[in-house]
C-alpha cells in the first residue's frame, strides 16, 4: 500500500508541476471567463451610428409608413435609421438601383431597401448593404416592412388600423422549468449549463485518458517500467497511475468549480458594472448536478483511463498508440454525437436506454440530470451498471497492461492482445 501511494504521489506531483497543467487550469477558466465577458460585450454592444438608408419603392406609397416604423433610437439617443432618400415608382428600376448602388459604394448611403411591384402580393423585399453581418438588422427592417405591408393589406380589405402592433402582437409563451426544488423560469440557462457541463466531461475524459495513456507509454518506451515492476506489482503501478492522474483531474475540477462559483457570485455584478441594466442569465448549477458531474467524471475516468492505459501498454510507440486508441475514443465521441437525442427529449425511451449504457452513461446521464431530473432509480441503475462495467474493464485492462508493458516491437494484433488475457 505504501508503494501504491508513492506511485500516486509521483504521478500527481510531477503532473501538477508541469507547465501543461498550470496552463490548462488557468487558461480554460480564463478563456471561458473571456468568452463569457465577450458575449456580454456582444449582447450589450450596439451601433452608435445612425444608418442612412434609401427606399426604392416599386409599388408606391410605402416609404413614409416604413420610415415611421424604423423609429427606434440608439443607446446614445440618436435615431437608428434615417431615410435620406425615397424613390417612388421610378420610370426605370434598373437605373435607380444603379444609382443607389453607386451611393452605397461611395459611402454616402449605408444601404437601400427595394420593395418589388405589388408588394402586397409578393413575399420578399431586398435590403442591400455592405455589412450583412449584423443579423439584428434583418429583423428590424423586416418588421418595419411587414407592418407597413400588412397595414396596407388590411386597409385594402376595408379595415383601418392606426397602430398595427396593437392588433397583431403575439402572445408569448414563458417556459417554466419544474424541478423538485420548485419552479424556475427558463431563459435557456438550463440548456447552456447542461451542454457546458457535458462538454467539460467529454473534454476531460478524453484529455485525462490520453494523459494516462502517455504516462504508461512513457514508462514503457523508456523501459523504466522494468525497474518499477521489479519493485511493485503491475496492478499497483497501474492503479497508482490512474489514481494519481484522477487526483490531478480532480484538482483541476476543484479550481474550475471555485472559479465558476466566483463568477456565479460576482459575474452579474461585473456585467452590471460594465453596462448598467444589462440582464445576465445567472447560471446556477444545482448541487445534485455538481455531485453527478464529479461522480460520473470519476467513474467514467476510471473506465476510460483503464482502456487508454491498456492501449498505452500494448503500443510500443506514439504512432501505434494513436492508431490503437480508437476503442477508447470512439464511445466518448459517440456520446458526444448523441447529445442531440437527449436534448430533444430527455425522457424518451431512446434517451433513457442510451443513458443507461455504461460507455455512454457518464456523459449522457449527466446531460439528462442537468436538463431534467430523471427518476432516481434510473440514476442509481446507471451508476451501478457503470460501476460493474468499470470493474470488469479495469480487470481486463490490468491483464493486458501486465503483459503489454514488457512486450516490445511490432504492434500486437487484437488476437494477440486477447491471448494476453489468458497469461498467468
Amino acid at each position: 500500500m505504501r508503494k501504491f501511494w508513492l506511485i500516486v504521489k509521483r504521478e500527481y506531483v510531477t503532473r501538477v508541476h508541469t507547465k501543461g497543467f498550470i496552463f490548462a487550469t488557468i487558461l480554460i477558466p480564463v478563456l471561458s471567463t473571456g468568452l463569457f465577458a465577450f458575449s456580454i460585450f456582444l449582447a450589450t454592444r450596439q451601433n452608435n451610428r445612425t444608418m442612412n438608408i434609401a427606399i426604392l419603392d416599386n409599388t408606391g406609397g410605402f416609404a413614409s409608413a416604413i420610415s415611421k416604423s424604423l423609429s427606434n433610437t440608439l443607446p446614445n439617443g440618436l435615431p437608428a435609421f434615417r431615410v435620406v432618400q425615397t424613390i417612388d415608382r421610378p420610370s426605370s428600376e434598373e437605373a435607380a438601383r444603379k444609382e443607389l448602388l453607386a451611393q452605397v459604394n461611395a459611402g454616402s448611403l449605408d444601404g437601400f431597401l427595394v420593395l418589388p411591384k405589388n408588394i402586397t402580393e409578393a413575399k420578399a423585399a431586398e435590403f442591400h448593404t455592405r455589412n450583412t453581418g449584423d443579423f439584428t438588422l434583418e429583423g428590424t427592417i423586416g418588421h418595419a416592412v411587414s407592418d407597413a405591408v400588412i397595414t396596407r393589406r388590411l386597409s385594402d380589405r376595408g379595415i383601418r388600423v392606426e397602430n398595427l402592433r396593437d392588433v397583431i402582437h403575439n402572445v408569448e409563451i414563458k417556459m417554466v422549468k419544474v424541478t423538485r426544488q420548485g419552479e424556475t423560469e427558463e431563459k435557456g440557462q438550463t440548456f447552456i449549463t447542461a451542454i457546458v457541463l457535458a462538454m467539460l466531461l467529454y473534454m476531460t475524459l478524453i484529455m485525462y485518458g490520453i494523459v494516462t495513456m502517455r504516462s504508461v507509454l512513457e514508462e514503457k518506451t523508456t523501459r523504466i517500467v522494468e525497474v518499477l515492476i521489479s519493485a511493485v506489482t503491475p496492478f499497483q503501478l497501474l492503479a497508482g497511475k490512474i489514481v494519481g492522474v484522477a487526483a490531478v483531474a480532480f484538482t483541476q475540477y476543484l479550481i474550475w468549480i471555485g472559479t465558476a462559483s466566483l463568477l456565479g457570485a460576482y459575474g452579474g455584478a461585473l456585467a452590471a458594472a460594465y453596462r448598467p441594466g444589462a440582464s445576465i442569465p445567472i447560471i446556477r448549477v444545482p448541487p445534485l448536478v455538481l455531485v453527478s458531474l464529479l461522480v460520473y467524471f470519476l467513474l467514467g475516468y476510471f473506465l476510460y483511463a483503464s482502456i487508454y492505459a491498456a492501449v498505452g501498454a500494448a503500443a510500443s510507440n506514439e504512432q501505434d498508440a494513436q492508431q490503437m486508441q480508437l476503442p477508447a475514443t470512439l464511445p466518448i465521441v459517440m456520446s458526444f454525437i448523441m447529445f442531440n437525442v437527449i436534448l430533444r427529449d430527455p425522457s424518451s425511451t431512446l434517451s433513457v436506454v442510451l443513458s443507461e449504457i455504461p460507455f455512454f452513461s457518464p456523459i449522457l446521464m449527466l446531460l439528462r440530470i442537468s436538463v431534467q431530473t430523471p427518476p432516481l432509480w434510473q440514476i442509481a441503475l446507471s451508476i451501478l451498471l457503470l460501476l460493474i462495467t468499470t470493474l470488469g474493464v479495469v480487470y481486463f485492462s490490468a491483464r493486458i497492461y501486465r503483459v503489454g508493458v514488457l512486450m516490445y516491437g511490432k504492434r500486437p494484433s487484437l488476437v494477440e492482445i486477447l491471448r494476453w488475457l489468458r497469461y498467468t
Binding site: 510531477t14 523504466i224 525497474v227 521489479s230 506489482t233
Partner: protein, 301 residues
C-alpha cells in the same frame, strides 16, 4: 545459504518454451555470470527471480525465502535496456526509486546525495535526466540499482556506455558491495569480463542449463588443450588438421585447440622449420569464449 535457488523452473509463452526445466544455485557472496546467446531465456529467468513473471512449474527462492513483495526489495536491478523518467530531476528519480525499494524518503534522499557525490554528479542533482549525457544517465541508472543496498544485485551489461574511468568506478563499487556480503549476478556477452570477475557461471541455451558451476573448475575440466602462440611471420605452419582441431588468428596472436593426444612439440617444430619467429608458445586452458561457442554451437548442431 544460497542467494538464489532455481529449482526445475519452466516457463512458456504461446507454446514457446522460454525456460525449460532450469535448475541452478548461486552461493551468497558470489559474483555469478548468467550467460547465454540472445533469446536463450536469460531475461525470462531474471524476470522470474524478480517476480515480474511467474514460473509455470518449479520454484524459486531468494535468500532462502519464497518470492514475495519482500524479496523484491532485496534485489537491485540494472536492466540491459536503460531508461528512467526523461523529464524528472535525477535527484527526485533516485529518491522515488529508493523509496519504492523500501527506503524511507529521508533515507533515500541522504543516500542519493552520497551516491551523486561519488559519481561526481552532485552539480546535476536538480537537472532533468534528458539534460545529461548518455554516460551520466548510465551512472544515474547504476545508482538506482544499488541505492537501497540490495543483498542481491542483478546487472545486465553494466559496463556498456561507460568510459574506462567510470567502468573502473562501477567495477570497484561492485567489488565493494560484494565485500559487504552482496551477491552479484552479471549477465553479459563479454566473456573477458566474466573471466575477470565471476566465481561461477551458468550457461543457458534454448532455455536449458547447458553448463554451470565454478568457473575455474569448468576451465580446468577442459584441461590445457589450447595453444596460444605469439609470433611474426607466416601462420601457415598451423595448417595441420591431424594435430589441430580449430584455429583462431588474431594478427600476432594465434589460438588453436589441439586434437586429443596431439603433441604441441610437433607444431613448434613445423614453425621453426618454416622460419617463423616465435615470441611466446604456451599451453593454456580454453578461453571462456571458446567454451561458450562450443556449448552453444554444439547444441545447435
Amino acid at each position: 545459504m544460497d542467494a538464489v535457488l532455481i529449482d526445475h523452473v519452466t516457463k512458456s509463452y504461446d507454446g514457446v518454451t522460454a525456460v525449460n526445466d532450469l535448475s541452478f544455485a548461486i552461493k551468497q557472496g558470489a559474483v555469478f555470470g548468467l550467460l547465454g546467446p540472445n533469446g536463450a531465456g536469460k531475461t525470462t529467468t531474471l524476470r522470474m527471480m524478480m517476480r515480474i513473471l511467474v514460473p509455470d512449474t518449479g520454484s524459486i527462492r531468494i535468500l532462502d525465502e519464497p518470492l514475495t513483495g519482500r524479496t523484491q526489495d532485496l534485489i537491485g536491478y540494472l536492466p540491459e535496456e536503460r531508461g528512467l523518467y526523461q523529464r524528472m530531476e535525477i535527484g527526485k528519480i533516485l529518491v522515488f526509486l529508493g523509496a519504492l525499494k523500501g527506503l524511507t524518503e529521508t533515507e533515500a534522499g541522504r543516500r542519493t546525495g552520497q551516491w551523486l557525490e561519488r559519481f561526481e554528479l552532485t552539480a546535476w542533482a536538480k537537472k532533468k535526466l534528458i539534460d545529461l549525457s548518455k554516460g551520466m544517465q548510465q551512472k544515474v541508472q547504476f545508482i538506482a540499482a544499488v541505492i537501497h543496498q540490495p543483498p542481491l544485485l542483478i546487472l545486465d551489461e553494466p559496463f556498456t556506455g561507460l568510459d574506462p574511468v567510470n567502468a573502473i568506478l562501477v567495477k570497484d563499487i561492485m567489488l565493494e558491495l560484494r565485500a559487504q556480503g552482496a551477491t552479484i549476478i552479471l549477465s553479459t556477452h563479454r566473456m573477458e569480463q566474466v573471466e575477470m570477475m565471476c566465481d561461477s557461471i551458468c550457461l543457458i541455451h534454448q532455455g536449458r542449463n547447458v553448463l554451470h558451476g565454478d568457473l575455474r573448475e569448468i576451465k580446468k575440466s577442459y584441461g590445457k588443450n589450447t595453444l596460444r602462440i605469439e609470433c611474426s611471420g607466416d601462420g601457415n605452419f598451423m595448417n595441420q588438421p591431424a594435430l589441430i582441431e580449430k584455429v583462431n588468428h588474431y594478427g600476432e596472436v594465434i589460438e588453436a585447440r589441439l586434437m586429443p593426444g596431439a603433441d604441441p612439440q610437433e607444431i613448434l617444430k613445423a614453425a621453426v622449420q618454416q622460419g617463423v619467429r616465435i615470441n611466446r608458445f604456451e599451453l593454456v586452458e580454453p578461453p571462456l569464449n571458446d567454451i561458450f561457442i562450443e556449448k552453444v554451437g554444439g547444441a545447435r548442431a
